[in-house]
Structure formats: C-alpha cells, structure tokens
Symmetry: C3
C-alpha cells in the first residue's frame, strides 16, 4: 500500500492572491487524501482573524482595492471558489490550521479573535515536526 | 544506482528577480540531471506569455524601470545568462513547463498567447502529483 | 536510530519580517538537532553584509520606518529574540551560511563586506546538492 502523502504550508503573507494559492493547494491536497498542515505566521495570521478574509488585498495591481474587486468578480464568473469557501472546505476536510503563538503575542491577537476552525496554537517546533515528516513543504 | 533527484517550482510571482531565481534553479537542476517541473500560476503566468519576459520588473528598487535596466546591464557585464536565455536552456533541457488552467481562465489567456516551450496546461492536481514525488519543492 | 533531519532555506528577500521568519526557523531547527543550510541570494544577501541587519525593513506596514521600529519594540517587550541575536544563535549552532557567488558579483559585494559567520561562498549547485538531500526546503 502506498504511503499517505502529506503537505505543510507556512502562510507568512496576508495578500489575497497568496492566501488563495495556499488554500487552493491545501483544499486540493486534502481532497486527494493527503494530510495537510497550515501554519499562519506574521501577516498570514490576519487571514485567521474574524473578518480577516474580507480585508486581504492583491499583492500587485490592487489599484486602491479595484484590482481585488475585479479579481473576485472574475473568480465568481469562472466558478473559482471564494477564499472563504476554500477555508470552509479545508476545515471540513480536516486540514490542520495552526496559529503562530509568537505572532499572536506580537500583534496582540487573542484566541477569541480567531475563526472557529483553528485547530491549535503552536510554535516553530510544532511546524518543524510536521514538516520534517512531510513530502511537500511550502513557504508562501 | 542513486535515485534520480527531482525539483518542482511553483512560480506565483511575475517579478523579474523571482523569475530569474526560478529559472536559474531550474536550469541548474536540469543540467545536473534532475527532473524539473515548473508550474506557472497567478502573476507567474505572465512570464509564459509571448513578450512576458520583457515586461517583468524587479520586486524592489525598480525605480520606474531604471533598476531593472541596471540589473540587466550588470548581468550582461558579469556573463549571467538573461532570463530569455535561461528559459531557452530550460526548454532544451526538457524542463516541464505547466501553465495553470485556472489562471488562464481568470486572466483570459489562451494557449495561443503562450510561448512555444509550454509543455502542458494543468491544475492543482497536476502539481501535487509531481511535488509529492519530488525531493525539492519550492514556492516562489 | 532515527535519521538526522535537515532543513535548507533560500533567503531571496531582504525584508525584515522575512529574514526574521528564516532565522527563527533556522535557529529552531538547529536547536532541535537538525542540520541547517541557509543560502543568501538577491536581496537576501544584504542580510549577510556588515550592518545589513539594521537596514532591513518590514515588507508591509513599514510606514517610513515607523512600522519596523514598532515591530522591534513589540519584539523586545514580548522577549522575542532580535534578528541580530538569532543570527548569532545560528552561527553558534553551526548553521551553514552560504553567500550566493553570482549575487556577490552582480551587487559588487566582496568577502570583506560580509559578516564573519559566513561559512562559504557558493552557487546553485551548492544549494541543489544540499536541498536534494534535505527533508525541508523553503524559499523565502
């Protein structure tokens, strides 16, 4: 029997397009039966905050918010799942969502500020343990 | 006999310096006999468009285009291969160049707009399959 | 006996928050007994230059330097090690610090401009050899 494959993603960026890429990869991998761990640190932690998804902007061509709106419109038109929907899919598919403890201290974010799907709060050791046993490790 | 090593790269960025890094790694790995797959998504897809290499700019210190021009001049002076040359090398060395299907829809890019060396159009599953069997996986 | 785990990081970015993430990961992994190689290229090479740590700025919310100052103040308050301290820890823990030869040529950086902890100057082949034998490979 083939070994179960696994993926870890550090989401350091809070940009909309980077978060989209991270959740498309995570949801795709989980749907294919892979074990997936996501670790949210620095700006990436914002995505896990209540209301954080709505605030994220494109890393390029944002044009005062217009670029992000246009991108979302194009996504809807082409049946690409929204960032919020992808996150729900990931939670449903048991993707492990780890919030970085150090970033929470630095940015004064408490557990109550985070969305419900967050599975745990952890540090660099939590990430390194998962990554050292995984097949694909990405920093986004 | 040693196992053949393999590298995958997701190029999400369209920045000149990030694309340079990606193609230097890919060409180097292919020249060393490694199997290489590059997956072009979001802004990274622009690099695969006809004329796309010329439009890419430095992620920092672009200074209205001047920084990019200076960097290219320094590269020429120090015998660093140009981005266009590195892409030709990669195609010659059988690097697999995969264009992201979803990004093509979102950005209204058709197959005819892409350079000739593109080997296929694929999705997240195409990438995950290659990456789960590779030794080095990078997100750039 | 379990195999010794290993981590490689390409630091392409010169941003303060990206460098922090890289050195937190490297120091953490080395402290856990992992073999760690860091490869500094493009803007990331600036971090290895004498005085380079002090010049690095946040990738977002820098606000003319104010954001970086505030972040450093919060780090001090919450007992997060400074970037300079993390680099010292990495050197003490035998993290291999490789400066990219091509970037040194392009940016006219000589060996004398680099900090003392740099263990070697190398190219893409040096990186690929280390990464193809490592468990975790990140591009930051």
């Amino acid at each position: 029997m083939a070994e179960k494959k696994s993926l870890t993603i550090i989401l350091h960026s809070g940009d909309f397009d980077k978060a989209m890429a991270a959740f498309i990869l995570a949801a795709g991998a989980a749907a294919m039966g892979m074990t997936v761990t996501m670790f949210f640190t620095f700006w990436g932690l914002n995505i896990l905050k209540q209301g954080g998804v709505k605030k994220s902007k494109l890393s390029k061509m944002n044009m005062g918010g217009l670029g992000t709106i246009m991108m979302k419109r194009m996504m809807g038109k082409h049946n690409v799942a929204s960032l919020g929907q992808l996150m729900k899919d990931c939670i449903e598919l048991d993707v492990r969502l780890v919030a970085c403890e150090m970033t929470m201290s630095l940015m004064r974010v408490s557990k109550e500020n985070l969305i419900q799907g967050v599975t745990e709060i952890g540090g660099v050791g939590t990430y390194l343990k998962a990554a050292s046993e995984s097949h694909i490790n990405l920093f986004i």
